[in-house]
């Protein structure tokens, strides 16, 4: 990751210095051979964390027809060096999982994956040993200024997260980090009424006979946790001590809506094999060569999966054997200088529409949430402003859970 950012700077530096930003970058789509091979892609990992573990099988797609092409009906099994085996089950197209109570990675043992596709082709990864874990010392955050992605002329303020590790036991330790972010977000509207197929007595306040919610904040505050789609890796190969200090990981610009309230990250710090590290490092370098002044020659990066009958077949991806530890959550407050816009989704107050919704809604879409809108007539004193029930057509704007988060506040959320 670092190397790439560096290259970007190098390019920008050279050009800017001598040609005062005379250079330019523009979108351009070259003519490409669209009849690309469909190559097997294996994406999986076993760790010392409890299962279930997942292996994803898919085919690569042509560059201009970017798609995930899951491979179903394959047989996937996990094998360790003691001869234990567990067969994975396809839980969704292309996703194969072990059982929660099945094998769990043990430090010191070696593991490999076996795959047989429905066309009979057999693949295997090499055995890799589960390395000893290395604990995270802590996570740090710093306000920082960085160049915007794909825009060499703009600075961005944001949070830069860093990781520190404890000293590893092995001098050459290959680190790989996965980051989970958690952020708080709010619905556009508070829920005042809901409809679950049952009508209540009509009042002035409740002209449609809807159910009144007890706590209007329910489903207003949500927290979403998701992996950050970035790969971070580093090796202590050249360091005098196998320890990570202030290694920059994720950067999030202040303008990102996720920072509006509070924002937190959690890091899974893995120790992986040298081979796996090389794979990730090359993948990162090749996929983030944002600039191109001094790039290296790209090539096909193959992982550790081989066709047992045809070693020439290119297989993409990697089955990783990784020993992990989790960091604590690092919580940041909202940046004070930024004003986030608050576009409200459309809420409909027309009684025709509301009656229509109530009458035609399917039970499967229950509950349907309604809010109050306050109409402020400029000729009327504020206290007498009309309160009108409104239907929010995009229910995810009133039920925050529908945007993928949970309404349950994480226990670490408050300081």
């Amino acid at each position: 990751m670092q190397a790439n950012k560096y290259k970007l700077l190098l390019l920008a530096g050279f050009i800017a210095i001598f040609f005062l930003a005379n250079s330019c970058v523009e979108e351009y789509w070259p003519e490409l051979d669209t009849a690309a091979d469909q190559l097997l892609v294996v994406d999986g990992k076993i760790s010392n964390f409890p299962g279930p573990y997942t292996v994803k099988l898919s085919y690569s797609s042509a560059i201009n027809q970017q798609a995930n092409n899951p491979i179903s009906l394959a047989k996937v099994s996990l094998v360790d060096n003691l001869g234990n085996t567990e067969n994975f089950v396809e839980t969704s197209p292309g996703n194969y999982s072990s059982s929660a109570s099945g094998m769990q990675g043990i430090v010191g043992r070696s593991y490999k994956i076996k795959i047989q596709l429905s066309n009979g082709k057999k693949y295997e990864s090499d055995f890799e040993e589960l390395k000893p874990t290395v604990d995270v010392e802590n996570l740090l955050v710093e306000e920082s200024v960085q160049l915007a992605k794909n825009d060499l002329e703009t600075d961005q303020e944001g949070y830069q997260f860093y990781v520190n590790s404890k000293v590893a036991s092995s001098t050459k330790t290959y680190f790989y980090w996965e980051i989970e972010e958690t952020y708080e977000y709010h619905s556009d509207y508070r829920i005042i009424f809901l409809y679950r197929g049952r009508r209540y007595p009509i009042t002035d306040f409740n002209p449609y006979g809807l159910a009144k919610v007890v706590n209007e904040d329910t489903l207003f505050y949500c927290w979403k946790t998701q992996p950050i789609p970035e790969r971070f890796s580093y090796s202590t190969e050249y360091l005098s001590s196998p320890v990570i200090k202030n290694l920059p990981l994720h950067f999030i610009p202040f303008t990102d809506e996720r920072l509006r309230y509070k924002y937190s990250i959690l890091v899974n710090q893995y120790s992986i094999s040298e081979n796996a590290y090389t794979f990730l490092d090359q993948l990162n370098k090749q996929n983030n060569s944002e600039d191109a002044l001094f790039t290296t020659q790209p090539f096909q990066i193959r992982g550790n999966i081989k066709n047992l009958d045809d070693s020439k077949e290119a297989v993409l991806g990697y089955f990783m054997v990784a020993s992990g530890t989790k960091s604590n959550h690092l919580l940041t407050k909202a940046p004070s200088r930024i004003r986030y816009s608050s576009p409200l989704s459309f809420a409909d107050t027309s009684s025709v529409q509301i009656k229509n919704v109530i009458n035609t809604a399917l039970a499967s879409s229950y509950p349907i949430y309604f809010t109050f809108l306050y109409f402020q007539n400029p000729n009327v004193p504020l206290a007498e402003a009309d309160e009108v029930i409104a239907y929010v057509e995009r229910q995810e704007c009133i039920d925050c859970q529908k945007k993928g988060g949970t309404a349950k506040k994480p226990d670490y959320w408050d300081w």
Binding site: Y6, G13, F18, E26, N68, Y238, F299, Q300, I301, Y318
Partner: protein, 928 residues
């Protein structure tokens, strides 16, 4: 016009026919014994005492020097001319016993007033064998001169006679090399050698010799050849005519010499060519010649005929330069103001050079004027430059100092852009050149070169690199036109890097290469149709691979020394230019190379024939200091034949082989500044290159146009390619990062030049192909799956047009049109999801191409007034680089953005670059 000159000549001849016999006898006075270590003034006294002669000359023109010659019975005239050529003074005799020693051999035009009274009636009546008719210069530019060579007596019963002599610059006294001398009557011609000497055998009788070369005014001389004799040629610098011929005027040379794949460009001739930021850059002009390519703007070095950049050898006055770029390749490291000319050998590299298989760029700097102190300089948007030159001791020794530096760094401070604000870049270069004429036969040159670059990018990384070099060369001339040159050269290249991107891994690393070379060349001209050159050279390479050190207390980088390496490359060579007959000439020879790789070194020994991996490591061999680790030898050869089909058409063929024992380690597509040099070693074999060249050369329409077609096929073995994904950082086993393979290249280069007239310039088209193959029985030792792939700089079609139009002598317009096929590029062929991130998969190397490259540059040059004698001269150059603002792709890259793969095109010059440059030169002509 012609008629008038003829009649004038006839008149002069008629007048001169009186008393001719007497003058002949005077100049035929033979000196009976040798003289040694006689001061010039004493010599003159002695002669005046012993013979009925009186000398007339201006003391300031002939300083005191030591007269020595050892053969008995030499004609006085010959002695005088031999001794005085160094001052450009020639002797004329009359029938009254007067001897006139005059500058530039031009009695008639520059008749010194001091002997006017004494000799007025006799001078034009001649006798002087060298009657210059310069005074009609106002009437016609090319002046016919009448010269009698030899004597009738000696020529009796002979059909042919040989003229020999030296061609020198009338102002600086420097020898003019590569000048072409052609007899317009018989069509015979020769080219002066590297010391300016020539020999030409012609039938006895009248001839018209035409002399031409890059920087000089073409001259025609009528010669009445009576017997063997000397004809020294004093030629005028072209600058006073202000007729700019753009590229070299080696017209006859083009068809007569055996040189192939050869280009010579003089600094003067290319000064109007528009370049980036108006930065005069003679070496960048090479890119407008056929067969020379680069990966793109901002890439160091050149690719000559499909070869990688490390196969070119750059010499500036004997000093090899290992990084020829400033600012990561945007500018070349040679200040055009100090460069006199450069020669590029793309094929049949002279045997005195070896060690690089693709090309030699030989840059010759100016030598300081021995006459007067003068200065020149210029100011452009990026750099300022200043050159001062002059005599140390008048007519004896001279100095030249040239410096160039960026001064624009401060501009960066005014710019708000975050990267620029936090970045700095500077470069500078300097040369000094001292020349001493020790005496008639010995010349000493001291030359030094320095260049430095500093880059500080966004405060995160710093680069700086320096070239230092110096040469001492001693040239000894033997009387019989043979010569000996001994040079001692040292060149060093140092690269330092500081990297502060990541605190725990911040480091500094420096590496250095030292090149120490001894070279001795003996030129031997036994007969007029042979010209031998033999000698030896020996180069000691010392590479300090450097130490990685932590940059701060917080850095955890292990201090690691990568060690040093040493190698000695020695060669013996012999070459001959052999004029087999009128129409057939041969040039060729052998060069035996011996390379020894020395300790101290710990060498990894791998299992025989197995890939260099840790698994195959058998043992580590230890070698002590100067212990031979591995020796390689190789025989280079060059053979070239020139067959003159007609007076204006020749065909040439050449076959040659070269060896190379040093190569560059760079894992980037465009060569980045942090490349390193590496010697062939225990595990890495030397590079061997073969080339076959065939060509047709023609001069058309009275030699105003020059046309050539050259085709070549090259095959290089053991070229070093970097493995996919190789990591150089802190790598102590570099042999594990590289593979050796073959490079095949072929092409055809079509060149058409218009040398004269208001509109002059050249057009060339090149078709070429360059493919690399790295294959092995082991999959890990293959690149691109063992299939051939185009080299990074393979651009099949290239077209260059360079034109200059003179509106008047003061205003001219120049333009370039550059077209080439886009360079090869590797594009992703597939996309897949790994870890939820769209990820690219690349397959075959260099399978695609960037869009074609097209660029138009223009410049308008306005010269100051044309007075020949004035204090200073200024000129303005307004130029626009990339006039059309075409966004030529430097590269195309792919990137995931919000979950989607997008492609972006990067152009380095996305808009026209306008610049104004002011050049000046001072000259105290008045004080002469």
């Amino acid at each position: 016009m012609r008629k008038r000159i003829l009649s004038l000549a006839i008149m002069l001849f008629w007048i001169s026919s009186f008393g001719q016999s007497q003058s002949k006898t005077n100049e035929q006075i033979k000196l009976p014994h040798s003289y040694s270590n006689l001061l010039w003034s004493t010599f003159v006294q002695k002669i005046e005492h012993n013979y009925p002669l009186q000398f007339f000359y201006q003391f300031s023109e002939i300083p005191e020097f030591v007269v020595s010659f050892d053969s008995d019975s030499i004609e006085l005239k010959v002695v005088l001319n031999e001794q005085l050529i160094q001052y450009n003074v020639f002797a004329s005799f009359d029938n009254k016993g007067n001897v006139f020693l005059t500058k530039n051999g031009s009695i008639s035009s520059q008749l010194p007033s001091y002997f006017f009274n004494a000799a007025i009636s006799n001078t034009t009546e001649e006798s002087s064998e060298f009657t210059d008719q310069n005074y009609i210069k106002t009437i016609q530019e090319f002046v016919a001169q009448s010269v009698v060579v030899g004597t009738k007596e000696k020529g009796v019963n002979k059909l042919t006679a040989t003229i020999n002599g030296i061609a020198i610059n009338s102002l600086s006294g420097q020898a003019i090399t590569e000048a072409t001398i052609v007899d317009l009557i018989s069509g015979k011609g020769v080219v002066t050698d590297s010391k300016g000497n020539y020999k030409l055998t012609l039938n006895i009788g009248k001839h018209v010799l035409k002399i031409s070369s890059v920087n000089i005014v073409e001259k025609q001389i009528e010669v009445d050849l009576q017997s063997d004799g000397v004809l020294n040629l004093s030629l005028d610098d072209k600058i006073f005519l202000l007729k700019d011929v753009i590229v070299n005027a080696e017209k006859e040379n083009n068809i007569r010499s055996t040189k192939m794949g050869f280009d010579k460009v003089s600094a003067k001739s290319v000064k109007k060519i528009p370049l980036v930021f108006g930065e005069k850059d003679i070496v960048k002009v090479a890119l407008l010649l056929p067969g020379v390519q680069t990966v793109g703007e901002g890439s160091s070095g050149f690719n000559v005929r499909g070869s990688p950049t490390d196969q070119n050898l750059f010499y500036i006055n004997h000093v090899p330069i290992y990084n020829t770029s400033h600012a990561a390749g945007f500018f070349s490291a040679f200040n055009a103001d100090v460069v006199d000319e450069f020669s590029l050998f793309k094929s049949n590299i002279p045997l005195q050079y070896g060690g690089r298989i693709s090309s030699v760029f030989e840059i010759k700097t100016k030598t300081g004027s021995k006459e007067k102190i003068t200065a020149r300089g210029g100011i452009g948007p990026i750099t300022g430059r200043l050159t001062v030159e002059g005599p140390l001791k008048k007519e004896k020794s001279s100095f030249l100092i040239g410096v160039r530096s960026t001064y624009s760094d401060w501009v960066l401070n005014f710019i708000k852009d975050p990267i620029i604000k936090n970045s700095h870049a500077q470069f500078a270069d300097a040369i000094t050149n001292f020349s001493f004429q020790l005496n008639d036969y010995n010349q000493l040159n001291l030359f030094s070169y320095f260049s430095t670059d500093k880059m500080n990018i966004y405060t995160q990384s710093k680069y700086d690199y320096q070239n230092f070099g110096g040469s001492v060369s001693w040239m000894h001339y033997f009387k019989n036109k043979n010569s000996f040159e001994l040079s001692l050269v040292h060149s060093a290249y140092a690269f330092n890097e500081e990297n502060n991107q990541l605190e725990i891994a911040s480091y500094s690393h420096n590496n250095q290469l030292q090149h120490t070379e001894l070279k001795a060349i003996f030129e031997f001209v036994p007969r007029h149709n042979h010209h031998f050159q033999f000698g030896l050279n020996s180069t000691l390479y010392q590479i300090d691979k450097g130490i990685y050190e932590p940059l701060s207390a917080l850095s955890l980088i292990n201090t690691t020394s990568l060690g040093t390496e040493k190698g000695l490359e020695s060669a013996l060579f012999l070459s001959d230019d052999w004029k087999i007959n009128e129409n057939l000439s041969f040039q060729g020879g052998l060069r035996f190379n011996q390379f020894t790789y020395f300790g101290p070194q710990d060498v990894n020994k791998y299992r025989d024939g197995m890939p260099f991996t840790d698994e195959n490591l058998v043992e580590v061999l230890h070698f002590n200091d100067w212990e031979s680790i591995k020796s390689y030898s190789g025989l280079d050869f060059r053979f070239a034949l020139n067959h003159l089909l007609t007076e204006n058409i020749s065909v040439k063929a050449a076959y040659n082989r070269l060896h190379q024992f040093i190569y560059m380690l760079s894992n980037t597509i465009a060569v980045s500044p942090n490349y390193r040099w590496k010697l062939s070693d225990y595990n890495t074999k030397p590079i061997v290159g073969d080339q076959i060249t065939l060509g047709v050369y023609s001069n058309l329409w009275n030699s105003n146009y020059e046309f050539s077609l050259e085709t070549y096929y090259k095959f290089s073995q053991n070229i070093v390619e970097i493995k996919d994904g190789a990591n150089f950082f802190l790598n102590e086993n570099m042999e594990q990062t590289s593979l050796q393979g073959n490079l095949n290249a072929f092409g055809a280069e079509l060149m058409f030049k218009k040398l004269k007239g208001r509109l002059n310039g050249w057009i060339n088209y090149t078709y070429s192909n360059s493919k690399v193959l790295v294959n092995s029985p082991f999959a890990e030792n293959r690149i691109n799956y063992g299939q051939p792939y185009p080299s990074n700089y393979d651009k099949p079609h290239a077209f260059n047009l360079v034109a200059n139009y003179d509106f008047s002598r003061r205003v001219s317009f120049s333009g370039n049109i550059v077209y080439s096929t886009g360079r090869p590029i590797t594009y992703p062929t597939a996309v897949y999801y790994y870890g939820g991130i769209p990820t690219l998969s690349y397959s075959s190397r260099n399978e695609y191409r960037l869009p074609d490259y097209f660029r138009v540059d223009v410049s308008l040059n306005v010269e100051g007034n044309l007075l020949k004698r004035k204090l200073g001269h200024g000129s303005w150059s307004f130029s626009v680089y990339n006039l059309l603002g075409r966004k030529n792709a430097f590269s195309v890259y792919f990137e995931e953005n919000e979950g989607l793969i997008k492609a972006y095109k990067l152009s380095i010059f996305g808009a026209p670059i306008v610049s104004v440059t002011y050049n000046f030169k001072l000259g105290n002509y008045a004080s002469e």
